[in-house]
């Protein structure tokens, strides 16, 4: 949102710097095409982001852009508000989710997923062990709830550990990571994604242990 050349306001037809509202007539402007979450939230592309900053920026933007404020305005502004908040919600979800944030950041760094990825053998072994543990759980057994709670706690630790590794990797290779470094990072993302699905799987088992009807 720091372009120097003015754009044409759709409402007063005059020049205005790009941004949320026209500098002259205060009409809501369309979102710039290609603006990603980092830019919308006014942060440098990075993996470690300040949650308090994101939250306050989210609040400030919602309070300017939400459809509730445009319900009594014309059709164009209603549509633009919908477009803006759709993007805002998407960006908010992306930036507050480690996997989505890492994927966005990888794209920023020019990473393209290879057609035939090199398998992560070490991790495959871990996956096998984890799967076996999962299959051994009987959600209808008497001790299922405490057992699942323990497994969830361990799974959450693994998840945290992966996030930490990812944060370090992105921190070290901040400026211009080479191909190998990018492969390494994308593997960490895949691991994180797996651990999260695993946790969801445990959640489902826990739901069933709590209430067999689900």
């Amino acid at each position: 949102m720091t372009d120097h050349l003015p754009i044409v306001c759709w409402s007063c037809r005059g020049p205005t710097p790009a941004g949320l509202f026209c500098a002259t007539c205060q009409a809501l402007l369309p979102p710039e095409s290609g603006m990603d979450g980092f830019r919308l939230f006014g942060v440098e592309p990075a993996f470690d982001l300040d949650p308090a900053h994101l939250e306050s920026r989210h609040r400030v933007l919602q309070k300017q852009l939400h459809p509730d404020f445009f319900a009594h305005r014309g059709a164009t502004e209603r549509r633009l508000s919908l477009e803006w908040t759709t993007r805002l919600n998407e960006s908010w979800q992306t930036l507050t989710d480690p996997v989505a944030r890492a994927v966005l950041l990888l794209a920023h760094l020019g990473w393209k997923a290879p057609e035939r990825p090199v398998p992560d053998l070490e991790f495959l072994e871990e996956v096998m062990t984890l799967r076996e543990a999962l299959e051994e759980v009987d959600p209808l057994a008497a001790d299922a709830l405490p057992r699942l709670a323990a497994m969830k706690s361990a799974a959450r630790d693994r998840l945290q550990n992966e996030v930490r590794q990812l944060s370090e990797a992105f921190g070290v290779h901040r400026s211009a990571p080479d191909e190998l470094q990018l492969i390494w990072i994308s593997r960490l993302v895949d691991r994180l994604r797996y651990h999260r699905r695993y946790l969801e799987e445990l959640d489902r088992l826990e739901d069933r242990a709590f209430d067999p009807e689900t």
Binding site: P6, R13, Q26, D68, N89, F210
Partner: protein, 627 residues
Amino acid sequence: MDVLLEIMEPGQSLLPHQTGPMTRKRVVGIDLGTTYSLVAAIGVDGKPLCIPDDTDVCAVPSVVHYGVGSVVLVGQSARERALSHPEATIVSVKRFMGRGLEELRAHLTTIPHGLEAGEGGMVRILAGEASVSPVEVSAEILKVLKKRAEEALGGSLHGAVITVPAYFDDAQRQATKDAARVAGLEVLRLLNEPTAAALAYGLDKGSEGLYAIYDLGGGTFDVSLLKLEKGMFQVMATGGDSALGGDDLDQWIVQRLMTETGTHQPGPGWIQAGRRLAREIKERLTDETMVTFPLPGVDGAARGSLTRAEFEVGIRDLVWRTIPICRRVLKDAGVASGELQGVVLVGGSTRVPLVRRMVAEFFGREPLVDLDPDQVVALGAAHQAEVLAGNEPAEMLLLDVTPLSLGIETMGDLVEKIVPRNSPIPTARAQDFTTFKDGQTAMAIHVVQGERELASQCRSLARFELRGIPSMTAGAARIRVAYQVDADGLLTVSAREETMGVEQSITVKPSYGLTDDEIASMLQEALQHGAEDLRVRLFNEAKVDAERVLAAASAALHEDGDLLNSEEMERVKRAMHTVWEATQGNSADALNDRVQKMDVATRFFAQRRMDRSLQRAMTGRKVDDFA
């Protein structure tokens, strides 16, 4: 100097219509409930109030009676006929909204009406001589509320916020919106009931933190977890069961009455009488530990009895069904119950002592019951209506979520989720698909909603076919299916083939409800003033836009008026004046025409403003330096 020149002086109000006090738009909040419906508006002291009838009663029983000679009764008078004319009197119509025939037959075992398949997969209810859709029945209730509000507020309504259970799916929401249109009501927003309750509660108590809203109504259950912080209400997660409520508790008593009286095939009259008695017994058991009552359909002084303990054993499983849902909502929000600031009870069924006990036990705290659980939803809706109409600034911003995942059917009846549940709305998601056969030129798209893995177990919202895909080898086409959910929680789906630069786009509004034509024809039948309403609406829309154009032009003159000589200035102002004159009339066409003419007449001005701004940019000076 003419009038306009005078009022254009910098620092003064820009246009005549902005100089006077702004006219308040007449808007209301409506709680269209399973058992009762209410309408509320902001009173003179700025606080929302429910609007009562002339006997000072706010709640309108959601009962519609279809009499002979197309006489329609709504509310208390209809309820009085439920016993004498059971087949012709429809209660709890909300349970039919947006539902198909098969589904209803499976769920509703004892109803005194025949059902038949209607248009668009919708059901029709046979009520006496009439065959009516749930949308039409709901519209009758809305018409009564609308009339009551218009009499109380002294004029026609600009619009309404109508509440729906948070767990209502797209078809049920669409049906509710259709009902409002049939009743001639402009829907400012469909608002989720727990969110409306939280709004009323939050504004009343002014407290911040995490709240769970447990809303057990006549026919629906919702639980929402909200974060209230710095003027923002954020729904973190929501869950529920749109077919679970007080009616089900009554139903248990009805079954017991059937057993006790040896009734196997209850007739319509017995069903209505049994249901009414059941509700009465349930309500009395809130304060009493045992009640006795005359048995329906049994002659003489035969009396039955029911203790609260027996009742609680009987309904335990039903009430328990809400608990895993509460648990999942906490989990989805990533919140432990100890972190909650409070648990707020909404809906008449939360008066049942067992409900309160189970909620207290699960959340580990006594729930808050200091607001009237029957009125709080309508009050919150009335408040939000004021904000949406622009009558008052929003003290509190509401951020809501989708209650159920939205997906698409893929091969083998599987569902691919596109928008996961609890996504903040508005939201948009897209997914790419491809063809699986060589030369395939069409693709069937089936939109579903729900958490189940099989499409056949989810709610089917829409089916359509994307045609005109260029003939290619299997897997070469790229079909992008995009889902958009708006601030009402309503879904629009579009699909398009992208590889060959050929654009094929189709937009579907999933609707168990009605087509626009069907609504238009109903409007004609039901409302003599339907056409007039439409004309007023179109004009108001044009006026909002024209006022924006005038305000924008005034701002431009204020900023760059020095670019015009006096003759040009006069020309621009004359064009503005003709637009302003048309805003005082009543023709949308005339107004739009003048706005277009003004656009042409002021184009040179816009061009000069652009040129100057570019010159400034080129000479490297910031626009701000000139301000």
